[in-house]
């Protein structure tokens, strides 16, 4: 049955997430201003708080909201506190999702316990990963892959214990020649360059990698299939499936910060005597109230689109289109929301005394990483129009 109300157990978990998020928020400014430092794996307050996912699984019943959906709300709640600081940092990163989606059972068993980053983007290729220049050449004498190339914008790249990278085994094969390889840290020829300096999410660990004659065992090819699929056989699509849950996830992460911005703005406007109540018409309101409520609607619409994508996945249904829809919607909305909040509050909002200006910088990445807004619209349009990549690009 259609319902949008969290159960008491859901609500208890989400309240705990918020409580922890508020504590994390105390550290947010420090790590924004000291971007060469990483937030600790565990805050001093951590002993008094349980991991939200542990809380979630305790006393949970099948009457409670499904896991994918509630995970989106937990992510929103966490970044409502801060993008990077966590009470206790969990293991795992985007590369673990790739391992889960494409790895053989043996590979999952071997590397599942490591935190794995995912390295796709290169200096010369971002939105079009089929143009990957990093090469992997099989040395049949030693049964090793020899990897050469550069990767940038690798999230969790400094702290990860290993990385899943995309490299081509046959440039002439285009997308079909691209394979995923697992490279553990400390492998000779694998160099981690410094953390990037960024507009926002400064505490986030964003690395650049160089691979120079880096040798990994033959069995480090994820999924183990060395064949080059024929054009149009969908091999690349399988690789892209990783994104069907990570896109709603990063949308949720961005939206949590936009919600923080709206909550702060609401507090300030109400303290200044602006009536933000619902029920009447826009014409009976101040311009500030009408503007604010418009931003609240953008938040609500984005949130529901994220929950929809996650819910489909929980039901075992395809959510390829919906993952892009929610990412496109949220990527635009979080920009508009945080820009609008600053406009509503005026000069006080650009002061670094408050976190609003930080949220404004932090959310901007939402419409860029994990596929830009343009890529999401491309995917959405292809699905709507039933077009192939060749027909619409």
């Amino acid at each position: 049955m259609i319902d949008f109300e969290p159960t008491p157990h859901d609500a208890k978990v989400l309240a705990a997430v918020r409580e922890q998020a508020l504590i994390c928020r105390n550290y947010a400014r420090y790590y924004d201003e000291n971007e060469h430092e990483f937030p600790p794996d565990q805050l001093p307050e951590a002993n008094d708080h349980k991991n939200p996912y542990v809380l979630l699984m305790q006393g949970r019943s099948d009457q409670d909201t499904t896991l994918g959906v509630i995970a989106m709300l937990i992510s929103m709640g966490e970044t409502w506190g801060d993008y990077s600081v966590r009470m206790q940092r969990g293991k795992g990163a985007l590369g673990n999702a790739a391992l889960g989606a494409a790895g053989t059972p043996e590979q999952q068993e071997k590397w599942g316990g490591l935190t794995l980053a995912m390295a796709i983007t290169e200096p010369g290729c971002g939105s079009d990963p089929s143009k990957v220049q990093t090469t992997a050449v099989l040395d049949e004498a030693t049964n090793e892959w020899v990897i050469n190339g550069e990767k940038i914008f690798v999230t969790t790249g400094c702290r990860a214990e290993g990385v899943v990278i995309w490299a081509t085994i046959d440039k002439s094969a285009g997308r079909a020649g691209i394979k995923s390889f697992l490279v553990e840290k400390e492998t000779p020829g694998f160099v981690v360059a410094a953390k990037e300096k960024k507009l926002g999410i400064r505490a986030d660990d964003t690395a650049a990698y160089v691979f120079q004659d880096c040798r990994v065992p033959r069995e480090n090819l994820l999924g183990g299939n060395e064949e080059i699929p024929k054009a149009g056989s969908g091999g690349f699509k399988g690789v892209m499936k990783t994104f069907n849950m990570t896109r709603p996830g990063v949308a949720a992460i961005g939206l949590g910060m936009a919600e923080a911005a709206l909550d702060f703005t609401r507090e300030q406007l109400e303290a200044a005597g602006v009536d933000l109540s619902y029920g009447g018409s826009e014409h009976g309101q101040s311009a500030a109230a009408a503007r604010f409520q418009r931003l609240e609607r953008e938040l609500e619409a984005s949130k529901l689109s994220i929950l929809r994508a996650a819910w489909l996945s929980d039901m075992g249904q395809s959510n390829n289109l919906e993952a892009s829809v929610c990412k496109a919607k949220t990527g635009t909305a979080v920009r508009e929301i945080t820009q609008g909040c600053i406009e509503l509050l005026g000069p006080m909002a650009v002061s670094r005394e408050h976190l609003l200006e930080k949220w404004f910088r932090d959310v901007r990445i939402t419409d860029i990483y994990e596929g830009t807004g343009e890529i999401q619209r491309m995917i959405t349009a292809r699905a709507l129009l039933d077009y192939t990549r060749a027909e619409l690009n």
């Binding site: 109300e5 159960t7 029920g279 009976g284 609607r297 349009a381 077009y387």
Partner: protein, 364 residues
């Protein structure tokens, strides 16, 4: 539990109403608009579907099924996909009947509800919107003054749908600082009903302006009688319903544009193959989806008896903004053909602008 799961029954209802919208409403929409006339046989046909009576109590001749604002939202979207004006004509009597079923006294329910459970179409309407700019439904200018055992109503109401035939109007008025709703028969002394108006959009729908010049109604005409009623609840239900209708219109516009853009060629390829058009269609889809989820949320708040004012306000306002945008894009995708009355997009463009400024004509 957060879930987007339709019940099996809701899926059946959705599919059946979609067929009706496709086979009956859509083919009749253009002529009804051109002639500014409701096809009477179509109203009779829609009445047979039981859209109004199914969820009215058995005691008054209804189907006795539980009220389901969620099911009704799904119905409204499907019908409006066929045509919003004809959808409103089919659903507006339910707005009056549901308000009485929800908040009427036993006597009021017994007097009025059986008429909606009969075999033939019966019209009665909500009268909420008032003429003039900056109308705020929280502060109606229509006044109710107590006079002994009666109320005297003064003011004006506009965009009262089915005003050419409604047996009664449920008039929202300010009463002693608060708001109330009054059941006013069409022959009440002092009530003047205008000729059907000529509007920009939803032209098939007969709308009137009511002038209430010291219309005296008995205290028993106050909805809920001595207890009064919660006017916001009526408004909330109507906002969610309008939002569902606008979602249907948006979807209609998108679904019309997709095949058109794939067929129409310019500079050697289909215009849908150009990002300027393809991305527009993508955004039309994104916003149609979002409207639907906001509508469902509002309807689910109503259905579970939770405070629905925020969700219904958000759903209507969001749909009003995005539906106008989508209908506007629809015209642009068709270019010159979008401006020609041979295609429905110009009708949806006018309909979107009209729907987006309304309150209180339909309900869930």
């Amino acid at each position: 539990m957060i879930s987007f799961k339709l019940t099996e029954e809701q899926e059946v209802v959705r599919d059946a109403l979609h067929d009706f919208a496709e086979q009956a409403l859509r083919p009749a929409a253009r002529d009804a608009d051109e002639e500014s006339k409701l096809p009477e046989e179509l109203l009779a046909q829609s009445w047979e579907l039981g859209l109004v009576s199914t969820q009215l109590p058995e005691a008054f001749g209804g189907g006795g099924e539980a009220r389901s604002p969620i099911t009704n939202a799904i119905v409204a979207e499907e019908l409006a996909w066929g045509d919003p004006a004809l959808a409103i004509a089919a659903l507006a009597p339910a707005a009056f009947a549901f308000a009485l079923a929800d908040q009427g006294s036993e006597d009021q329910r017994r007097e009025h509800l059986p008429a909606f459970c009969g075999d033939s179409y019966h019209a009665a309407s909500l009268a909420v919107v008032e003429p003039g700019p900056v109308f705020d439904p929280r502060l109606p200018r229509t006044l109710a003054e107590p006079k002994g055992d009666a109320f005297v109503l003064s003011g004006a109401k506009s965009f009262v749908v089915l005003g050419d035939r409604a047996s009664h109007f449920l008039v929202v008025a300010r009463n002693n600082g608060g708001r109330d709703a009054f059941i006013v028969p069409r022959d009440a002394e002092g009530l003047s009903i205008s000729e059907p108006e000529k509007n920009l959009g939803l032209k098939a729908l007969p709308t009137v302006t009511l002038e209430l010049e010291r219309v005296e109604v008995p205290a028993a005409a106050r909805l809920g009688e001595a207890a009064g009623c919660d006017v916001q609840r009526i408004l909330d239900g109507s906002r969610a319903a309008l939002s569902a209708l606008m979602t249907g219109l948006s979807r209609a516009a998108l679904e019309f544009c997709v095949p058109y853009a794939k067929e129409r060629e310019a500079f050697g390829e289909a215009i849908a193959q150009k990002q300027a058009i393809a991305f527009r269609l993508a955004d039309m889809h994104v916003e149609t989806e979002c409207q639907r989820w906001l509508t469902w949320k509002a309807a689910s708040q109503l259905e579970h008896g939770r405070d629905a004012t925020v969700a219904c306000h958000q759903a209507r306002a969001y749909a009003a903004e995005k539906t106008m945008w989508i209908a506007d894009q629809g015209v642009q995708v068709l270019g010159g053909h979008g401006f020609i009355r041979e295609h429905p997009v110009e009708m949806w463009y006018r309909g979107a602008r009209t729907l987006g400024v309304l309150e209180g004509i339909v309900s869930l």
